[in-house]
């Protein structure tokens, strides 16, 4: 971490420090609603980062990341629901299960040379398959959903993730910051360079002796494990899980919006994207409600338009452009 800090220019350090201080101090001034929006932003920055590692760095397009969110959420929630095993332990099981699923998808895809669009379809098929399976899993509540009990007496048990908005805000902040640090470290590691090589030209990478299969597998494993932690967060934050919602393809797409809008393959892209998209979406909901329009699709239409416009006008995302504007673009991480 110290190494990473040393690698930054003074201006980058200043901006980063300002951002961290602002986010840590935010609960002092922010009300409950604002805090919940910030929590959501940080959550999307985190899962977006996880997806970004796989697509942005290693170039493997996954449209089924809802699979890992859902598995992580369900494993931790079921352990808590049936055995009273808290999320701090359950998260390990959740990550293990999601990584196993990632290993299966990755192995099927990379071992048999399923590439590009076909690989994306494979990830969708895996997520949808699991969705229908969970619809019929009785002990997980089936399609009727799984509800974590809300008990007053356990509210203070922060180690079991039973708490209020403040707890989840700081947890989300911790996750998002951890995601950025991990991505920054990986980007300058041997593995990170292997990923970039495979993304740019797999054949050339292979001819240089890079084990492309291994590089892609580690990308899927790291990404699925990270995403599962986001799933655990989701389960204990919302306390209810429905297969039709959490494994839905819409979830997978929602999760990749932030890194695409922010900038694929950049360390801060997912964070910037989440800070742009989530407040705009929330603001839009507030606006339509004030106008008395009850239209649940409006936010999604706006997201769709944003996607089309961004990919048309600025396919490399907002962050590289913003970084130049702020004068930190010299060695934009």
């Amino acid at each position: 971490m110290i190494e990473l800090w040393r690698g930054l220019e003074p201006r980058q350090r200043g901006l980063l420090l300002g951002l961290i201080v602002a986010l840590v101090a935010a609960p002092v001034v922010a009300d409950r609603y604002l805090l919940s929006v910030l929590t959501l932003i940080l959550y999307f920055a985190y899962v977006g980062q996880a997806w970004n590692l796989m697509m942005g760095f290693a170039g493997q397009l996954s449209l089924g990341h809802a699979l890992y969110v859902g598995l992580g959420a369900y494993v931790a929630a079921l352990l808590w629901f049936w055995f009273g095993i808290g999320p701090w332990l359950g998260v390990f099981a959740a990550v293990a299960v999601a990584m196993a699923a990632g290993a299966i998808v990755g192995w099927l895809g990379f071992r048999f040379g399923v590439e590009g669009v076909y690989f994306a379809l494979l990830t969708i098929a895996a997520a949808e398959f699991t969705r229908v399976a969970f619809d019929h899993l009785g002990f997980a509540g089936g399609s009727g959903g799984l509800f974590l009990p809300y008990e007053e007496r356990r509210l203070g048990e922060w180690w079991n993730l039973r708490g209020g908005q403040l707890l989840f805000y700081y947890l989300a902040l911790f996750l998002a910051a951890g995601g950025v640090v991990l991505a920054a470290r990986l980007a300058r590691s041997r593995l990170g360079y292997h990923w970039l090589a495979v993304r740019e030209d797999e054949r050339a990478a292979r001819s240089l002796g890079i084990d492309a299969f291994r590089a892609k597998m580690t990308a899927v494993l790291v990404s699925s494990g990270m995403t599962a932690v986001g799933g655990v967060f989701y389960a204990f934050y919302y306390n209810n899980l429905f297969p039709g919602q959490i494994f839905d393809i819409g979830r997978s797409i929602e999760l990749l919006l932030a890194p695409i809008v922010g900038g694929l393959g950049t360390v801060f892209g997912p964070v910037v994207g989440a800070f742009i998209l989530t407040p705009l979406g929330e603001g839009l909901i507030a606006l339509t409600q004030r106008l008395g329009i009850d239209a649940p699709g409006v936010k999604a239409i706006f997201y769709g338009l944003t996607l089309v416009v961004i990919i048309y006008v600025r396919p490399s995302g907002v962050w590289p452009w913003l970084a130049r504007l702020l004068g930190v673009g010299g060695r934009a991480p």
Binding site: F112, A120, L305, Y312, P315
Partner: protein
């Protein structure tokens, strides 16, 4: 006695599968020529369903009749979409095209949600429950009509690609893009026509779909996935493969819905998709991987 039940189920599957096949044909034609994966395919099919539904409810026009004007309308939409937006994405990285079409799909799907709400709308055709009896086999009238219509459109399309100058030119673009440009074909215009044809298939298939399913926005992503499964099982880019894949999926869905639980039938389709992707990525009738 049991075999006749199975026969009934299989025949129903065959007829439904032909309509699925027509929808998937559109996806296959677009990918085969333009090399862009239309991720908004099912969403457009549902738009066509709603148009046919509204025409039937408001004016009493039969979907089997309105199918043709709807297809024409969708041709124009597809042509315009390709000419204005998608042409500039040809040759760009796959994920760029992909995100563009996912964006379009989200807009279309939620536009439907805002306009019509989430509830399913049954069209209630007057002859919806009529059927022909051939020995022990009962066949729904609507399924026969729509399957015949789907076959007619598909064969019209085969003829178009085989015998007309424009069809031949489009096949030339698919076979060798550089060569096609060198001999002076207007590739961008041909691409726009192809996308128009693809959407016309979707428009016709959507109108036919109204006769066998209730229109609902949530069908959009489901049909997109269905079209993908069919096209990949049959072979992406192969026209005959799309119809064969449609038949296969139609029958397998009907059978698994009958033998196990209807809500689990899509699991079989997804498992089939994964198996085909892994074991035979070029599909049953595809030419190349």
């Amino acid at each position: 006695m049991t075999w006749s039940i199975y026969l009934n189920v299989v025949i129903q599957g065959v007829f439904t599968g032909l309509v699925y096949g027509l929808m998937a044909l559109g996806l296959s034609v677009i990918f085969g020529v333009v090399r862009v994966v239309n991720f908004a395919h099912g969403e457009f099919a549902v738009v066509a369903m709603y148009v046919a539904f509204l025409l039937f409810r408001a004016l009493g026009l039969d979907p089997l009749v309105t199918m043709l004007p709807i297809a024409a309308l969708f041709f124009i939409v597809g042509f315009a979409l390709q000419a204005t937006l998608i042409n500039s994405f040809v040759g760009r990285p796959e994920h760029d095209q992909f995100i563009l079409l996912v964006g379009i799909a989200i807009i279309v799907l939620n536009g439907l949600l805002v306009l019509f709400g989430p509830d399913a709308r049954p069209a209630n055709l007057p002859y919806a429950f009529d059927s022909y009896a051939i020995g022990p086999v009962f066949i729904d009238k609507v399924r026969i009509y729509s399957a015949v219509a789907a076959l007619a459109i598909a064969s019209g399309l085969f003829a178009f690609f085989r015998y007309t100058a424009t069809g031949t030119a489009i096949r030339a673009c698919a076979d060798n893009l550089t060569g096609a440009a060198v001999v002076g074909l207007n590739v961008k215009r041909l691409y726009a026509i192809t996308f128009g044809i693809g959407l016309a298939c979707v428009g016709a298939a959507g109108a036919l779909m109204v006769t066998i399913a209730d229109a609902a926005p949530s069908l959009g992503p489901a049909y997109t996935l269905l079209a993908f499964i069919i096209v990949i099982v049959g072979g992406l880019g192969s026209m005959a493969g799309a119809l064969v894949g449609g038949l296969l999926i139609g029958v397998s869905e009907a059978l698994s819905g009958f033998l196990i639980e209807p809500s689990m039938k899509s699991m079989f389709s997804f498992a089939l998709l994964i198996a085909v992707l892994v074991l035979r990525p070029r599909g049953l009738m595809g030419r190349r991987a």
